[in-house]
Symmetry: C2
Subunit: 578 residues, 2 copies
């Protein structure tokens, strides 16, 4: 060992000890012929001091050099309260340079103004910075808590293949050409979904895996081509059981990481979440629920609202106690148009007097009824969107979320968990002109909706659930179908022919013929969880070696070109440009 203590370890009690430290030169200061160096390693910083008799040793040493020093722990005249080791210094007796360093392209400090591209190219330097290092340590801590909790409940971690077969989950697969079977390809898994269900059929009873998953999608800011999922599946269990397991995992994480031990988990049905919050990912750290106003306008003479109600639309309101300027209203109107709302109507109440775009359009009775139903008070602004149900809900939901954040209604130290249950079984794909699985095709419908599976797909709900935290979807899961006949019926509803089903996952369907237990599970996005815990919006901060939005590693330059003969072996060639 080049050291007998770390740079975060020495305290007042160690004064007088002869120690050996090693680390990076974080800062050097000269005071006449005395030289002070802040020596840094993963564990902290210790000041080491070269007196005039030893300053020769230090003359060539610059920032980020790696050195090994022998010295005596000594009490500092003026303690540095910013350092945990701040009461002591080490008086150097000997010093050896282990490795020299050029000037680094980014400064190793908590704050950086380096461009993201530079930080990614020199990721190993970025990792030396506390904000990144701490997030990687946190990630390890969280997965450890997850493993301990699940092991304590008889879950077994099982590694499933990375070289696997295409799974039918919508996004594009990464493909791996086979050398031994030219013309065939492995796919990197989008999730271990099929394998974990097979483990349940195999009697493993309770499985988990901190699993690497892959999606060849056009990346958004919060996505990476490979990501990690806390993947859980359990047999002989239902929604209630698996949610209980996840809650225990979360309680343990938030207790250890945040010191919070009174987490609450609310429950909301999908339709209620859409009704009250206009979102299946509602942020429950603030109120401002959406309100259905159809009853108030039942007999309205205001033509626009009249038309909406006549075509079975929805008039929905949302109140904030804030006086918006005309300019702000214009900008919010543009905002709701992103969500396909045609307009944003509003009504203000100030000193008992109404104003706003709806003031002249509505009757006094209507305004009074609004005031009563919404308990409008001075300074309130009521926004109204009337449109098709989905548009009215979604647009106002987005507005609620935006204004809740911008008006400071969100307590950053609060963690509001809510289970969203009973998701729709299907969603209509405009692109494909048919209903597709909202979750995945192995999700069980609600028992009471069995008769709607094919006859009324728009109103058929499923046993799928999400866990939402502060407006973010933390996980998705569902009770799975464990019955071959029901699975066949769902495929029929999804217009997947028996032939196509057999070709795509025949082996999986066959497994259900040999005794499948009821089972359910979840996949928790690890990166998202770490992002929330460490309060960052940048997924790259919580990944050791992240890729850019175009799936490039700026450090290694992957993906890169390969030799012609490597492709020869694989039986592929680059497609000629037309």
């Amino acid at each position: 060992m080049n050291r007998d203590h770390t740079c975060g370890q020495l305290r007042k009690e160690d004064v007088g000890k002869k120690v050996k430290l090693a680390g990076w030169v974080s800062k050097r200061r000269n005071l006449g012929s005395i030289v002070f160096i802040d020596l840094r390693d993963r564990y902290g910083i210790t000041q080491i001091t070269f007196d005039e008799n030893h300053s020769e040793l230090v003359k060539d040493i610059r920032n980020e050099y790696v050195i090994e020093v022998d010295g005596i722990v000594s009490l500092k005249a003026t303690p540095n309260p910013k350092l945990e080791t701040g009461e002591i210094e080490v008086l150097v007796e000997n010093c050896k340079v282990l490795s020299s360093a050029k000037t680094t392209p980014l400064i190793i400090a908590d704050e950086t103004d380096a461009l993201e591209d530079v930080r990614l190219k020199y990721r190993y330097l970025d990792i030396r910075r506390n904000p990144i290092k701490e997030k990687l340590l946190l990630r390890d801590k969280v997965t450890t808590i997850v493993r301990n909790t699940l092991h304590g409940k008889d879950f077994v971690e099982v590694e499933t293949p990375i070289l696997s077969k295409s799974t039918p989950e919508g996004a594009r697969d990464y493909l791996v050409p086979s050398r031994l079977y030219n013309g065939r390809f492995y796919a990197l898994p989008q999730s271990p979904q099929i394998y974990k269900q097979l483990l349940m059929i195999g009697g493993m009873d309770r499985y988990f895996q901190i699993a690497r998953c892959f999606r060849d999608e056009d990346l958004r800011a919060d996505r990476q081509p490979e990501f990690t999922q806390i993947d859980i599946e359990m047999s002989f269990a239902d929604e209630n059981d698996i949610q209980g397991v996840v809650e225990e995992v979360m309680r343990n994480i938030f207790k250890d990481v945040k010191g919070i031990d009174n987490l609450e988990f609310k429950q909301l049905k999908f339709i209620d979440a859409m009704d009250k919050y206009g979102s299946d990912k509602p942020d429950l750290r603030f109120g401002n629920e959406l309100v259905n106003l159809n009853d108030i306008f039942e007999k309205t003479e205001f033509k626009i609202f009249r038309d909406i109600l006549d075509r079975k639309g929805l008039i929905k309101g949302l109140v904030f106690n804030h006086n918006f300027s005309r300019k702000e209203i214009d900008s919010l109107t543009e905002f709701v148009k992103i969500y396909k709302a045609k307009a944003l109507a509003y009504l203000k109440l100030n000193e008992g007097v109404f104003s706003g775009s709806l003031n002249n359009a509505l009757s006094d009775e209507e305004k009074d009824a609004l005031k009563e139903k919404l308990s409008l008070k001075d300074g309130d602004t009521l926004f109204i969107v009337g449109d098709d149900k989905k548009i009215a809900e979604t647009a106002l939901g987005a507005l609620r979320s935006k204004l809740g954040n911008e008006l400071g209604l969100v307590d950053k130290n609060q963690y509001a968990f809510v289970w969203i249950n009973d998701f729709p079984m299907y969603e209509y794909s405009e692109e494909e002109g048919r209903y597709v699985a909202a979750h995945h095709p192995f999700t069980s419908p609600k028992i009471e909706d069995l008769d709607k599976l094919i006859s009324d797909r728009a109103n058929c709900y499923s046993r799928a659930y999400d866990l939402v935290l502060n407006g973010y979807e933390l996980l998705s899961g569902s009770v799975r179908i464990h019955n071959k006949e029901l699975q066949a019926k769902v495929f029929e509803a999804l217009e997947i022919t028996p032939e196509k089903a057999k070709q795509r996952f025949g082996f999986f369907l066959e497994a259900f013929e040999y005794g499948a237990p009821p089972h359910c599970g979840v996949g928790i996005g690890l990166e998202r969880l770490i992002m929330i815990l460490s309060d960052t919006d940048n997924i790259k901060d919580v990944v050791a070696f992240p890729k850019t939005a175009s799936a490039m590693c700026l450090m290694s330059d992957a993906p890169n070109v390969v030799d012609e003969d490597q492709l020869d072996f694989l039986g592929i060639e680059l497609k000629k440009k037309d």
Copy 2:
């Protein structure tokens, strides 16, 4: 939950309780109108009993059906000592079929005569069998011990990329075509080598990862295209430190899994291992060391040995106390030829009289000298191979290993660990006509061999080490080069031009310019470790969803053909057959 107890849980103390169990029908027996079922889940088997009033419930239930039963725990008249639950049975009050089952293509029992192909195709059924299930549980247990031990020593688990860049480690890479950059490819990592060294340069100090690795090799029986490595790296440390860490990991594993708490770790230099055991993977559970006999034949007139010594060859002996038949000797002679030995000479001692192929060729003085040097006693057979040093050592080493096993000299309950240190820096590749890195090009040479790096490559040794257990290589590791100049010199020795080095791992070399700490590490083959712990020679037994020797998954049929437009997106096409 479909149960309130598992099938392995109920005991005498539970008699009288009303319970709910769920599981698979493992066996059913009829005794008149009473039906007994062995109900199985991951945790065990419980006998459930249907009396004449309830036998209607069970009439359609066959093996591997999944059922849920309510009943009363009752004392068995005649306990079944083979089951942990054998003192009780559950008298059924209600029974529900959760899932039916066809006749399984393999019987779910500890012993199976099913063909391996059938077991792989129906892997989920094979996993229901105890021998496979137990190995997967063991695997989880071992990785948990590894994580706990390493976390206790400040190691941090960090996930490194799977979509990465070709690493220069000899075997072929699996490639992943990029959709966003047509013509470029990711490579799946053969190990996280470069990333973990970058983490050391990044100051992570102590890293580990239970890491998935990939090699597109022609598979041997004990290889899989993807495998798992317990990957460890530490900074400011040397051979001694990292070996201490690994020993603690092994002690904890063998204590928890095998109840053994007195493991010993021997140390051998590579050259001594070759000299004494003719192998860098010696099985130290038995003696029978090879002996150098050159001194005895210094003045021999036996022409064959004379010639060998004249061309600086080696005459090496190996003794077993066994009387081999002529036929056995013939077969052993064929065996050593696999290792390029031209012949296998032998001398037997029986009732004080020598016999064997060398009896007439050697002088009485030579035979007496052999008898004295090797302490030959009645019933001994001395095998001699004279050849080039490497051939003589390797051939006799292989013979030693074969006979040690076949003659029952190996205690199956013993675990003999030995560190093999100071591996050669290079090995000569006949194929490439040049010296290549014996470990990998980032391995540090022995300090005392620095001057031989280029001038005497055949005699230059490295700071690489293996841990060998019972004749198997459990891990490889080395102290790494952390100095740019030394790295450049090693590349020169390996005839890797600066241009080629830059192209292949320029970003990695650049990292060493910004302050690299001394560091070293190991990669432990997890599958091999589990195979030894669970006493199987078949790597497929310790992998949840293994592939065949031709890298095929018989269950899912991966790799498989994909749609033309998937290839279009990736900018590749299948190479036309000539």
